[in-house]
Structures are given as structure tokens and as C-alpha cells.
């Protein structure tokens, strides 16, 4: 029961990793999902093309917050280049549960924000699931 609310997801939601402010980040991006009001900001420190530190802020549902928290753990120490290929599958793998199209949007918001922070732009349409 409540598979959407698996223990690990609830844990990330209740005890988010890397959440908080960052002084003088090299990269910042903020966005929100207008349909549900979820918002996420990612802040990065980058040295030699590698993510040295990451922080995020946000408010939203369990799925989006857990996704942001889990992604923040993944990204630390990665070359920016690596983020380029992260997609829907990456997020689903992290969350470990199947998601309906609407909830998928919640899950993908942090990825979108993280990628724009890293790359400055994104391929349009990437984060929507209905294409």
C-alpha cells in the first residue's frame, strides 16, 4: 500500500539532503511547475567542469522534493558533461517507483532545473512526458 510513498522517498522528503543556501554559487537556476506550484532552485559550485558542491531550495510535493534531494546526492563530484545524458529514466531509477504522467512532471522538475543550471539552456520539451 502507498507505494508512491515508499519509505526511502518519505525519508528524503522528511530529511532532505543538501538542502539549504549557498554563498556565491557559480550557477543558479530556479523554476516552478505552474500547475502545482512546486518550485526548485539548484545552486552549483563548479571547478574544472566538475560539480564541486551543490545545494538546493524548494517547496513542493513528496515526489518533487525527494527527486531534488536524490539528484543532489548524485550530482556531487560529477563532470557537468555527465548530466547531459540524464533523463526521465535516471529519475525513475532513483525514485524506484512507476509514475503517472502528471506525477512524472513533479519528478522531472528538479532534473530540468539542475540541467539548466549546469548548461544554461535546455532542449525544449525534454522534461515533459507527453511528447
Amino acid at each position: 500500500m502507498y507505494d508512491l510513498y515508499a519509505e526511502e522517498i518519505l525519508d528524503h522528503y522528511k530529511f532532505p539532503r543538501n538542502k539549504g543556501p549557498m554563498d556565491n554559487p557559480d550557477r543558479v537556476y530556479h523554476d516552478r511547475n505552474p500547475f502545482c506550484g512546486d518550485e526548485v532552485t539548484f545552486m552549483l559550485k563548479v571547478r574544472d567542469g566538475v560539480v564541486e558542491d551543490v545545494k538546493w531550495e524548494g517547496r513542493g510535493c513528496t515526489i518533487s522534493m525527494a527527486s531534488a534531494s536524490m539528484l543532489s546526492e548524485e550530482v556531487k563530484g560529477q563532470p557537468l558533461e555527465a548530466l547531459r545524458n540524464w533523463g526521465k529514466e535516471k529519475v525513475l531509477e532513483l525514485l524506484g517507483i512507476p509514475l503517472s504522467p502528471t506525477r512524472l512532471k513533479c519528478a522531472l522538475l528538479p532534473l530540468k532545473v539542475l540541467q539548466v543550471a549546469a548548461w544554461g539552456t535546455r532542449e525544449e520539451g525534454e522534461v515533459t512526458s507527453n511528447d
Binding site: 502507498y2 508512491l4 510513498y5 518519505l10 502545482c36 506550484g37 512546486d38 513542493g60 515526489i63 506525477r103
Partner: protein, 414 residues
Amino acid sequence: MKLAESVSLDPYRLREDFPIFSQKMHGKPLVYLDNTASAQKPRTVIEAMDTMYREVYANVHRGIYELSERATQMYEDARRKVAHFIHARSRREIVFVRNTTEAINLVAYTWGLANLRPGDEVLITEMEHHSNIVPWQLICQRTGATLRWVPITEDGHLNMEALDSLLGEHTRIFAFTAMSNVLGTINPVAELVRRAHAVGALALVDGAQSVPHLPTDVQAWDADFVAFSSHKMLGPTGIGVLYAKRHLLEGMPPFMGGGEMIREVTMTHATWNEVPYKFEAGTPAFVEAVGLGAAVDYLSGLGMDRVHELEQALVDYAYERLHTVEGLRIIGPGPKERGGVLSFTLDDVHPHDVAAILDQEGIAVRAGHHCAQPIHDRYDLVATTRASFYIYNTREDVDRLTAALHRVAHLFRG
């Protein structure tokens, strides 16, 4: 007669008219509490359209053969039923559109573009649905008119003193909802129309929530325009209504151009058909209109007073039961002053999570800003969870909702 009217409606009996309730949702009977977004359909509505497609289908107007004549008759009968249902003076005051949104846009694009000038003011309220906000923002941008907002009080009523100071000689139209789709607030429509008229402004009523749930008398309101949607009042999607006083419709330029709305077309000009056809360009959603007619028949059969009474009793009960859930806060007025809409927060659990967990219990509620961001901003909320009722909802539905909310609270607190 008197006696029959005093007998209350029985939701358990009414449910049987709605095929959707014969299925299970996640193994449990469906508890459908998203009626503000859209209502379920009784068998008679579904069958009216089905039958039309199977037996009487042909394009309406101008057909000189039996199928077309009969289809036209059915389409115009539906218009008459709607006119009667809201106490319009004539079926010519009923323009069929897609939904409430199109009805309001139609007024903004026609009356608005033709009449608004820089210096003019359009007045709306903080409790409007986006459909009664964005068309006015767009039209004010285009015409240079100014958009003004009536604030609301902490307990979810229009601030009537502020209203008085906002309504003035520059106000050209006051557009407001008869019932809030978030707070449930039932506004004093006739009084608001009176105040608008007192300063020479027109009054547009967004009836999307009130027409399905309360008796409507556009003449008693003296409203100039009333907009509502079929799909929220047991009717099909794809059809809605703009009511407007006939002389206003006659004075307005057309909206869309095309077949049926014209009188004559030459290479240099076109002249317009009589109202309401001037505003119905192209092949209308006539099968849907017939479906709406069947919905109106169904509701009239119940009596709108009794519909309201049933919902009122349910809101009373729900209001009390939901307050047993720790951390649950309902926004808007008290139970006696609202329709069957309850929007709430539960500690800081995100409404998406609430809705997703309720879904797994077979309970359908809505989570989000309900197309009304300004009212959420007003209460400094991003989103709420909303449970809303209609004639087929029972106390058992409320009990299941309450029990499920207790479990949500526990899951996030534990």
C-alpha cells in the same frame, strides 16, 4: 406538490442514475469529490446524445430534409430549455459556446474591444477563476483600460466597503463569480449587480459554479451577462452558455466569422444573422446542446432548491467531520455561507500527496491552485486540496474521506 417538494433528495437513489458509480476504483466503490472541476453524467444525458447520433443525426439549420429539420428542432428545443432553466426572457438570449471560458472571452473580444478605452476600468475580484481574469487582462492590454480588483476579507467574503470605493464613474463592467470555486463563497449576486448598475457599469456573472448548484434567475439578478459550462451541471463537454440581455447582443459586433453567423456575404462585405446566431459561427456543438438539454431536464426534475438543500446538509456534515483531522484547515467562510466546495490544507503536506494517497483509496479530489492563483496568493498558499459535492454524494463518502485524511496525517507525522 407542496408535499413532494418538501421531500429531500436521496443521493443513494440518484447514484443509480449515474453509470460511473457501478464500477470499483482500486477495488473500492468510487468516491467522486471533484465536482467543481466537472460533474458525472446521468444515463439520460448519455443516452440523449447516443440516440441523436444513431437516429436523428444531420447538420442543423438550412437542411430541407427530415433528419436536418428534426435535428434543428432538437437543438432549438435545448436552447429553450436552457432559457427556461435560468429564467431568460427569450431563447434568443442564449448563445451556445464551448464553455464558461469562451463565454467570457466572447464578451471581452466583442463588447470589450468595441467599448473599452484608456481611462475606463474593468473591475473583477480576487476570488475569480483564471477564466474571469485572463480575458480581462488581455483586453485591458489591448484597449488601454485598467483592471481593478475587489479584495476579499480573511474569512473569504468580498470586501463590500472596498467595492464601494472601487466602483465609480470609470467602471465599465464588473465581472464576478456567483460562487467561488475555491472558497465556496456564495456572493450576493443581485446586490452586486445593483451596485454595478448604480454607477452605470454592466455586470457579468461567472455562473460556472452557481448554475449547477443553486437556482438561477437572471431576471431577478438583472445580470447583463452570465457564463456557465454544461460539463459542470451533469451535461456533456464541448458546450457552454453565454446568457446576455438581447439588446446587448444586438449591439455587439460578431466574434468569429464564418458559416451560419452571416446573413449575406459578398466579395466586399458581410452582414450578420440575427441573435443569437450572429455569435455561433460554423457548425455548432448541437449534439452536445441536446445533451445539455437532457441535463437541464434532469436537474429541473430534482428542483434546484432541493439540490442546494442536499449539498448544504452534506457541507455541514463534512465541515464538522473534517475538523476531526488534526492540522486540517479549511479556507473560506463557515458552512452556512458556502456551496459544496471545501478547500483545505493539512499541516504542510503537499496537496499533491494528499490527492495521490486518497486516490489509492478510490477517492477523487483535486489538488492544486484550481485555476485560481490570486486567491491562493491572497492566503499565501501555493495549493490546496479540494473536495466538492454534488447530488450523488453521501455521508458515507464524507466518512471515507475523513478516515483517509486521518491516515495521511499519520503517514506524514509518523
